[in-house]
Symmetry: C2
Subunit: 455 residues, 2 copies
């Protein structure tokens, strides 16, 4: 590459994130060129609807009708996939990687669904896939895990990975307001999507957890094999009960690995987090990730988890790494000079692969996933009910730690909040199944998990 | 480099950090080889006293008498300088860089004193200088600033950079105990050095602040041109007063840049931090750094700031980056293919240089460094004293925000705690100078700074 040639970048997608990348590449043009040793040029942009009004005007001469055109254009070595979705984005990503390009992506849903294929394609064709923006917005957590903490194995990673849920839970807690009210407000203010289900159901956090679990343990865990529970059924009363017990409620993603059994578990669910845990005080649209490494101990990362600017910051850091890679002349067929690693294995650096030999790692069965639980039931307010419930729990070896009974709106009913000692997921599931079939129990019980991390 | 050759590493120094690096490279040997695509081998070790008893036994055949031998050995491309000091360490570092090697360093004192020369030497001879372990132990803050947040300019960086001071302050606060008592305890437990002055005087944090300021702003600021104040004069009473006002006390390093005037300021001093600031609750030997970027907003990093294992984690991450660089065949004369940057400028990536064109940046004069202040004076308990003090402050345009008067041990004296509205350093210095000369003021007044960051 000659020293005065700028480096061409293609943007597939020019929505929230794409326009943010454009804006900041423009604003910091000279400084970035100095830092990277080469000027950057956005050479082509693809959108669905060229007529759409945008905050940043789309320069007509850059417009390409088809993002696949950008993916395959020989003069565009860096392709940013900022469309979202798992169909066209999938085809664009694979096409660019097959052309030996560097793909920069913010698309956690795509990575979660097709990660194994994407990285295999990159490896095969000498392409590279960078994805800092896919998890935790502007927090450089991907780089921290794969480079900064490369000396470590990771027994525990947990945190807040979805800003929408954290915003809703924070508002519910602060204003003692019901979920539905806060949700519709959040939609009106643009903090939640029109279709909120991906966020509030925990699926977006699950996609991100899949990316982190793969980085840390070399294993692709589809959400269907995680425990994934959303925030829809959390009520203001749960916040009050939690506060009484000394906890806050957060939607957490939790990735643990037991290095003795070599079992990994990935969970996303609302959790009672003790007030002394720093993450319990991370509010609003912020994300936070606690990473425990066997060498470094626990490190904690906090920052905005989404939004145009924070996400653009992450995309641009990947572009910078892509430029460094291009300038080192190592883009195409990076791995041709070294022995290829087995597909499940990983190599560090930014070669677009994971970071840990994962051959022997398996998913932990429900029996070996355990913790303490918070259980809220609406029950008939009559003698013997608590005894009955307690005996069912005892049959499943679930031992009760505390009981809180409060009146319900219906005078014939009472709200019963139980916390348990350590129990396993299988036992809790069986218990829950049996409890929910009791005539004295009204509606489905709510199960939350109590998370006291050793950090 | 052939694919099955291991990569030789030399350790100059085999003390706390050196032995940690050895231990973890040993323990994770296979996994690291898989991650890095090449096995690592510690090929040589230099110490001062080969007979010394160590937790990790020094393999005799690896011993070299002189660290300079390792620095110049042609078969050792990666040299870890883990001796400390700024004399021999300086010579070893320069010799290795002149040989085009990659030097990995944990030595913030050296970088602070000789950084400009070190990076110029690296540039000139195609060597590289990596220094993740020099600031904030295992927290990958160097990588975050120079790579993960490369899209950003940094109006504000602040945090706790010295674990010893944070341990002492935390203990003083929690146990209502005087400085001297906690210090001697900390020495006995190995949390403070026999000669504590570098830590408690703020100098170690100043060295680290210099490294961060250079990374963020491309400017070498020697501690003599910073505001540096230590924790020695903070008393249990100050913690009580601070608590009354809603603050905790932390030794902070604060690096600010005003992009309008292009002025940078670097300060290290005990600060009153409001309880709602997450960093106010970072206790014990932990470090924490808040980084505000113009694109990403504020991100926060917390982790162990020192210690054998956390520091080794950082050294090993630099070794991993060094290996990636070597494997890309780009070690020697990396910059020969691109136009050289002016010495004050910087290029990103791991090319051993800073990250920002800094040509126009200057240090802010005291008049433009400002904030709120906490002032504690021991004064004669007699009429007119407060009026006198207030009038002196008013003459310097320092406006009082609150006054707290408490009895002193000496019945003729009173302790006077004043907080100010926004004032500048020059005005405060002049005020302090004048106040300390008053007959009614006993001993030197204590000045602390109140830090309410907009994050
Ligand atoms: N927004 C965030 O804060 C955030 C944070 C982290 C990650 N992400 C991820 O970043 C990606 C983009 O998110 P976003 O919020 O920027 O989405 P967005 O605002 O909806 O923008 C999507 C862009 O892709 C274009 N596009 C969609 N389908 C297309 C097609 N068939 N052909 C050509 N162009 C097409 C759209 O074109 P039109 O403009 O013509 O409709 C639009 O410009 C997603 O993967 C998302 O998960 C977003
Ligand atoms: N300790 C930490 O937690 C920490 C954290 C961050 C950064 N650092 C930095 O890391 C560096 C090393 O710190 P450390 O705590 O590991 O120091 P240390 O325990 O005192 O070890 C220093 C090592 O260097 C060797 N050495 C000293 N002078 C020498 C000479 N003239 N020739 C050959 N070898 C010599 C010593 O040899 P002998 O063993 O024979 O005395 C010893 O092995 C320092 O720059 C420090 O600031 C330390």
């Amino acid at each position: 590459m000659s020293k005065d040639t700028s480096i061409n970048i293609g943007l597939c997608g020019f929505g929230t994130v794409g326009q943010g990348v454009w804006k900041h590449l423009e604003q910091n043009r000279a400084e970035l060129a100095a830092r990277l040793g080469a000027p950057l040029r956005i050479a082509a942009i693809a959108v669905r609807d060229p007529q759409r009004k945008r905050a940043v005007k789309l320069p007509p001469k850059l417009l390409r009708e088809d993002p696949l055109e950008i993916a395959t254009a020989p003069d565009i070595p860096i392709v940013c996939e900022l469309m979202g979705g798992t169909d066209l984005a999938h085809r664009v990503t694979l096409a660019a990687l097959r052309a030996g390009k560097i793909v920069v992506s913010a698309n956690k849903a795509l990575i979660c669904e097709h990660g194994a294929e994407i990285f295999a394609t990159a490896r095969k064709h000498g392409g590279h896939f960078f994805f800092e923006a896919s998890v935790a917005g502007g927090i450089p957590i991907i780089k921290a895990l794969r480079e900064g903490l490369v000396a470590n194995r990771f027994p525990q990673i947990y945190g807040i990975l979805n800003g929408t849920c954290n915003y809703i839970l924070t508002q519910m807690e602060e204003r003692d307001a019901p979920y539905a009210e806060i949700l519709s407000e959040a939609k009106a203010m643009g903090y939640a999507e029109a279709d909120e289900s991906l966020d509030v159901g925990g699926w977006d956090a699950a996609h991100k957890a899949a990316v982190l679990a793969w980085l840390a343990h070399g294993l692709w865990v589809p959400p269907s094999r995680m425990i994934v529970e959303g925030i829809e059924r959390v009520t203001p009363a749960d916040f009050k009960n939690a506060a009484t017990l000394g906890y806050s409620i957060k939607l957490l993603a939790i990735i643990t690995r037991d290095f003795a059994s070599n079992e990994v578990s990935v969970k996303v669910h609302p959790a009672l987090l003790p007030d002394h845990d720093v993450i319990a005080s991370v509010n609003g649209v912020y994300n936070a990730i606690s990473v425990t490494g066997d060498v470094v101990g626990t490190t904690l990362y906090i920052g905005k988890g989404a939004g145009q600017d924070a996400t653009a910051s992450a995309v641009i850091s990947d572009i910078a790494d892509a430029v460094a890679l291009l300038r080192s002349g190592k883009c195409v067929h990076l791995n041709s000079e070294v022995a290829p690693l087995p597909a499940e294995q990983a190599s560090a650096g930014k070669s677009g692969e994971g970071s840990v030999a994962a051959s022997a790692v398996t998913l932990a069965p429900l029996e070996r996933i355990h913790g303490r639980y918070y259980l809220r039931l609406t029950v008939r307010d009559e003698p013997g009910v608590l005894a009955h419930i307690a005996s069912i729990m005892a049959q499943h070896a679930v031992s009760i730690a505390s009981v809180l009974q409060t009146p319900s709106e219906d005078p014939e009913m009472a709200s019963l909040v139980l916390t348990t000692h350590d129990a396993n997921e299988r036992a809790m599931r069986d218990t829950l199944h049996e409890l929910s079939r009791l005539k004295v129990v009204n509606g489905a019980p709510l199960l939350l998990r109590i998370c006291e991390f050793n950090t």
